[in-house]
């Protein structure tokens, strides 16, 4: 299906979000391709941060676009397109984590072979002592838990800034708000996290 088949007008490469959304609503294949190219990597990395598995992250990122394609007609434009995609991807990842927790759980401390060696010590590239590994694991869990307690609007800005290294202006454009709002949300989120994670930040070794 292309422009001539659908009668949809294609958006300009690098055009505004409004133009992209308008073209998407008209069923433009080219616009959909642009949407995928624009957000693919960011959604993939976001999903990976949540599920920590590349295959699953890829699956989630692809499914996000499939769901988006299916419900484009219902996209009201109240939020930015990235915020919309972000929420779809996050929900998919959360579903995945829930299913994983419900059906499959392997503790790294479990005895993984006949000699009684814990799985954690046998992971390739792992040279940390069990104590260090446990502290690292605790730190990771704590960071993730605290991130999860942030609201979506705060989590999105901190992810875009700290993981994607985007400028304030780009973040503002992406989520459809002012630079001032981005800074204010970032300020709040950073203070919130710093307060709760200060022990880990000070030592850098997870000694709470």
């Amino acid at each position: 299906v292309n422009k001539s088949q659908t009668g949809a007008s294609n958006p300009k490469e690098g055009g505004t979000e409004k133009e992209l959304v308008a073209a998407l609503r008209q069923g433009s294949e080219e616009a959909f391709r642009q949407l995928v190219d624009r957000y693919r990597d960011r959604l993939y990395r976001m999903a990976h941060r949540m599920v920590r598995n590349e295959d699953e992250a890829l699956d989630i990122a692809q499914e996000t676009f499939v769901r988006a394609h299916k419900s484009l007609s219902r996209f009201a434009g109240r939020s930015s397109i990235y915020t919309w995609l972000y929420r779809i991807a996050r929900n998919l990842a959360l579903d995945r984590l829930r299913r994983r927790n419900a059906h499959w759980h392997v503790s790294l401390d479990e005895q993984a072979d006949e000699n009684g060696s814990p799985l954690l010590e046998r992971l390739p590239g792992k040279e940390a002592t069990p104590d260090e590994a446990a502290a690292e694991r605790e730190m990771m869990e704590k960071v993730r838990n605290e991130m999860d307690t942030l609201s979506d609007k705060h989590r999105i800005v901190i992810e875009l800034r700290e993981f994607e290294n985007m400028s304030y202006q780009d973040i503002a454009d992406e989520i459809g708000c002012s630079v001032g709002t981005v800074m204010s949300r970032l300020h709040y989120a950073r203070n919130y996290l710093a307060e709760r994670l200060s022990a880990y930040m000070d030592t850098g070794e997870g000694q709470a």
Binding site: V36, Y44, V66, V143
Partner: protein, 161 residues
């Protein structure tokens, strides 16, 4: 200068940034643009081919209970409409009384045919018309004329006055 000010306003915090990046890490490889897009298109195609029929969607949603209830009501209505009628008994043996709607079963009639106890089959909650036959000889009646009455209950007593 302005950028620096913005960063200060946002409360840039390098130790926090490092901590977050250490906790979450990054994937070792990124998806290939073309194969990623092809996979997305393939999934869209597959999902549209295996679209669930509307009645299955309805059955699997919160409307399910309402839909099931509607089916049950529909089946009951059709059954009531076409179910075979209960054969009335005792009509022929009751002198001076005819039941116009014969779906009522006469259980008891007193010797002077003034009191009728009737029962309707459970599923036939409908109106019943009783009437005294005009052809019945006058002497068997304590009153004259025709008496008609509607009943909506399944059991009742009709007293002729």
């Amino acid at each position: 200068m302005e950028k620096q000010m913005n960063q200060d306003n946002g409360g840039e915090n390098k130790p926090l940034k490092d901590l977050l990046n250490r906790a979450y890490g990054q994937p070792t490889s990124m998806p290939d643009a073309d194969s990623f897009y092809k996979d997305v298109r393939r999934r869209i195609r597959q999902q549209s081919e295996t679209r669930i029929p509307w009645w299955k969607v309805l059955w699997g949603t919160p409307y399910r209970v309402a839909a099931q209830l509607a089916c049950v009501v529909l089946i009951a209505m059709v059954w009531l409409q076409y179910a075979p009628l209960t054969t009335p008994t005792g009509i022929g043996s009751v002198p001076g009384v005819a039941i116009i709607d014969d779906r009522a079963e006469v259980e008891e009639i007193d010797s002077e045919s003034t009191i009728i106890v009737y029962t309707l089959a459970e599923s036939q909650a409908t109106m019943v018309f009783f009437s005294w036959d005009d052809d019945v000889p006058e002497e068997t009646h304590s009153s004259s004329g025709r008496g008609n009455m509607d009943y909506y209950s399944t059991h009742g007593v009709f007293i002729r006055t």
